[in-house]
C-alpha cells in the first residue's frame, strides 16, 4: 500500500475476510433476503474461524427469521452447529447405488448426544465415517 493511504479495498482484503463480511451483511441488512443458499462459504477460512462463523450465522438467522442453506466439505464447520436445537439442521447429500441423489437429515439422536458427551465432535464423527457422506474412491 502506498504510504499514507488508509483505505483498504476489497481487492486488498483476503478472500476469507470478504466471505465473512458478505455473510454478516447477508444476515444483518434490512433488505437481506429471507432465504439464501451459499456454497462453500468456509472454503477460504481457517478451520477454527469457519467453526465460529457457522455458529454465529446459526445464532443470527435464528433471531432474524431468515433461513440459510450452507454447503461445506470442511469438518470443523459442523462443530459450529448446535444440532440439539431443532432449528439448526445438518443434512448429508449422498449418491444411491443407481445414481440418485439422496438427502438425509442427521438427527440429533441419543447416540449422537452420547458420542458428544464422550468427547467426540461432529467433525470427528464425520471424518471417521459415522455420519455417512463418505467418498468412494475405489
Amino acid at each position: 500500500m502506498p504510504e499514507g493511504d488508509k483505505h483498504v479495498s476489497a481487492y486488498d482484503a483476503s478472500e476469507g475476510a470478504l466471505y465473512v463480511l458478505f455473510a454478516l451483511v447477508l444476515t444483518s441488512h434490512v433488505h437481506a433476503p429471507k432465504f439464501a443458499a451459499i456454497e462453500h462459504l468456509d472454503h477460504a477460512l481457517h478451520p477454527r474461524l469457519a467453526r465460529a462463523l457457522f455458529r454465529l450465522l446459526a445464532e443470527r438467522v435464528k433471531h432474524s427469521g431468515q433461513q440459510l442453506l450452507l454447503s461445506t466439505h470442511l469438518p470443523t464447520s459442523l462443530d459450529g452447529l448446535a444440532l440439539a436445537d431443532d432449528d439448526v439442521r445438518l443434512f448429508v447429500v449422498d449418491r444411491a447405488v443407481e445414481g440418485q441423489t439422496v438427502v438425509r437429515r442427521v438427527e440429533y439422536s441419543d447416540a449422537l448426544a452420547k458420542a458428544e458427551a464422550s468427547g467426540l465432535t461432529l467433525s470427528q464423527l464425520w471424518v471417521q465415517g459415522a455420519l455417512g457422506g463418505v467418498p468412494d474412491l475405489w
Binding site: 438425509r104 467426540l120 471417521q128 465415517g129 455420519l131 475405489w138
Partner: protein, 226 residues
C-alpha cells in the same frame, strides 16, 4: 435405505456393495463404506494419517472399539459389519473362541467373539456378515462349476489359479474394480433360490438384508401414521 459398512478391505467392499445393491434395489440403497478408510489403504502403516485405521479384521475391530459405533448405526438404516470367517483360525482370535455346541452353526462362536468389539454394545440395526471362508467364495460360486465353494479355505488363491484375478508377486492381485466386475454376476445367483441355497453364508446375509428392509419399511409406515 441408508447403509453404513465396516469391512475388512476394498475388495470385500466391492462385493458387498454389489450384493446390497441387488438385494435392496427397490429401496434406493445409499452405501457408505466407512471402514477401511481409503486414505489408509494407499499408504504403508507407518505413513498412515493420524486417526485412520488400516484394513483387515484388525481394522474392523479397532473401528468398532474406538467409539462412535452407536452414532454410525443411528444415522443408518443398517450397519453392516464384515469379517471373513477364516479369521477364526488366527491365533489371536482362535484362543478366545469357545467350541461350538452341538447343532450350533460352527460360526456361532466367531459371531459371539465379534460382538464385544462393539463399543457400547451391538446396535439393533446391525448385520454381522461372516463370509465363509472369505468373500471370494461368493465369486467362485458364480464364475466356476466348483461345488461347496464355502469349504475352500483360500478362495482368493483359487480365483487366481483359475485366471479370474491376476497375480501380484506370488499372491492374488486384489483389485476392487476386478472384484466389482466379477460380483456383477451375483445378481443372477441371488435371484435363484436354489442356487443361493448352495452358498449358505451369502444366503444368510441376503435373508438378513431382506428382513431388515422389511423392518425399515414397517418402521417408516408406523412413523408416518404418527
Amino acid at each position: 435405505m441408508n447403509i453404513h459398512v465396516v469391512c475388512e478391505g476394498s475388495t470385500d467392499a466391492a462385493v458387498l456393495r454389489v450384493v446390497m445393491g441387488v438385494v435392496l434395489k427397490d429401496h434406493t440403497p445409499v452405501i457408505n463404506v466407512i471402514q477401511p478408510d481409503d486414505d489408509a489403504l494407499r499408504q504403508k502403516p507407518d505413513e498412515r494419517p493420524p486417526g485412520t485405521l488400516g484394513p483387515g479384521w484388525q481394522g474392523v475391530r479397532a473401528w468398532l472399539k474406538r467409539g462412535g459405533v452407536a452414532a454410525a448405526a443411528s444415522g443408518a438404516d443398517v450397519l453392516v459389519v464384515h469379517v471373513d470367517a477364516n479369521v477364526r483360525r488366527e491365533n489371536e482370535i482362535a484362543k478366545g473362541l469357545r467350541a461350538p455346541e452341538s447343532r450350533e452353526d460352527d460360526l456361532g462362536p466367531l459371531c459371539e467373539h465379534v460382538k464385544p468389539w462393539f463399543a457400547g454394545g451391538v446396535p439393533p440395526n446391525t448385520i454381522v456378515v461372516l463370509p465363509r471362508e472369505a468373500t471370494e467364495a461368493w465369486l467362485l460360486a458364480v464364475h466356476t462349476r466348483l461345488i461347496d465353494v464355502e469349504a475352500d479355505s483360500t478362495p482368493a488363491k483359487t480365483l487366481q489359479a483359475m485366471g479370474l484375478i491376476g497375480t501380484k508377486g506370488d499372491k492374488p492381485h486384489k483389485q476392487p474394480g476386478r472384484y466389482r466386475e466379477l460380483a456383477a454376476s451375483l445378481a443372477v445367483l441371488i435371484a435363484d433360490k436354489n442356487q443361493l441355497a448352495l452358498v449358505p453364508e451369502l444366503e444368510r446375509f441376503v435373508n438378513k438384508l431382506r428382513s431388515r428392509a422389511r423392518a425399515v419399511l414397517a418402521e417408516r409406515r408406523k412413523k408416518k401414521a404418527g
